[in-house]
Amino acid sequence: MAYIPSMDLVPGVLKGDTRAVARLLSRAENGNEEGRPALEEIFKRAGRAHVVGITGVPGSGKSTLVAKLTAAIRASGRKVAIIAVDPSSPYSGGSILGDRIRMGELVGDKGVYVRSMATRGALGGLARGTLEAVDIVDAAGYDMVLIETVGVGQDEVDVARASHTTVVVSAPGLGDDIQAIKAGVLEIADIHVVSKCDKPDADRTISDLKNMLVLSLGLQPHVPAPLDVGARKAARWQVPVVPTSSVNDKGIEELLKEIDRHGRSLKESGEIVERQAAIAERRLVKASEEMLRDKLEERRGELSVLLKELAARRVSPHYAARKLLTESGFGGDK
């Protein structure tokens, strides 16, 4: 089988052909220059799907929830694409992508596309190429795109700037861990899910979250929100807490209802425009970062002298960075 130019994959993608979608997605993931024009074409055709980010700590039940939620969305007649992100090894660059383990029963359904992606050094909970991947499945005609982030800690909030609706999953029994993550990830939720609510301490987690939401409503006007969409969102949208249990499929329908309600609320309030703008801004910054990182990688060989100077503290990191940027043609003055 010969190499198919990326541009030739575009018609297949737009028709929803799985092979074409999968191939172009790899090109996006690998960041090949050859794929850029095709991805630009796709970008212009995308923008129809409801993009839902699902995030939470490792083991909180994201994959299981995504599988159950997908079944519910399918039952409503919509097509679903899942982009599931797992971490790359910082040493070998390899990865083990295990999100499919929970999604076995979805595979036979032609209305579901599942793709695993490795972070490949990207921080923030998403992978390099995740946003392009969303464009591709969007253009391919999937009505809803679920982005499942890596298991997050406290500060991986990129998903909120990649999705229309952000769902944060918490599991009961993590006790103080719940408290610990309150400052970061919990703040980005449009919808909270408490998974595994068949477990005894679920009620405590639910009330912890509800208390936090009440508090943050009161505090919001005084706090410059790190994600400016967050502050305005709170004024219009009351963040619900949905208890779910995958053991007996409890709460899944309710969750889908809330996601749809949030999607409608974005449109009705006009906030969708702000969200799209926030996503666009984020993408511009991300794309610039990636280009810069690639440029640095290209020039790696030439850096040894500069690195030596830096390690010996003869120059400052700031000075070195400016020198590097200038020499790479990125300016760097000021």
């Binding site: 190499y3 799985t18 790359s88 499919r100 596309y113």
Partner: protein
């Protein structure tokens, strides 16, 4: 900058257990070995059907499907996989196998089109080499 940040067409391998075969220690070690060789390894979990594995491999744009099989059903599973891949127009996805498979069957399976069978005494480095060789022989796609 870590290796993970370099641009490269990373090899994607899907490893799967098919049918009633719960022995997954081997497949996990293989997955780990390939990960440490810098590949993206997608693990599907236990008890998959050949249909599920083929569809997953297409969706994931895998270069290679690695089937671990210790149940004795290899002469049923591999022909089925090859047939399904062909029917899907996806026979650029190469099939490899590992596990407990008699020598005479190894010959037959390779003749059928299984790219490689690695038996239980294969050293990890040889598994990595085989995957790389098979993907290199297939070429860019």
């Amino acid at each position: 900058m870590s290796v993970a940040q370099t641009k490269a067409d990373r090899i994607r391998v899907i490893v799967a257990k098919v049918g009633l075969d719960g022995h997954d220690r081997g497949v996990k070690i293989v997955a780990r070995t390939l990960r440490d060789a810098g590949m993206d390894v997608i693990y599907t979990g236990l008890h998959r059907t050949p249909e599920e594995v083929v569809e997953a491999a297409v969706q994931e744009d895998a270069d290679v499907i690695g089937i671990s099989i210790l149940s004795g059903a290899h002469m049923t599973v591999f022909p089925k996989l090859l047939k399904l891949l062909k029917a899907r127009g996806a026979d650029d996805i190469k099939v490899m196998g590992g596990g407990v498979i008699p020598d005479e069957d190894v010959v037959k399976l390779k003749k059928m089109g299984v790219a490689e069978i690695l038996l239980q005494d294969t050293p990890p480095a040889a598994i990595v080499d085989s995957v790389r060789r098979i993907v290199a022989e297939r070429g860019a796609r």
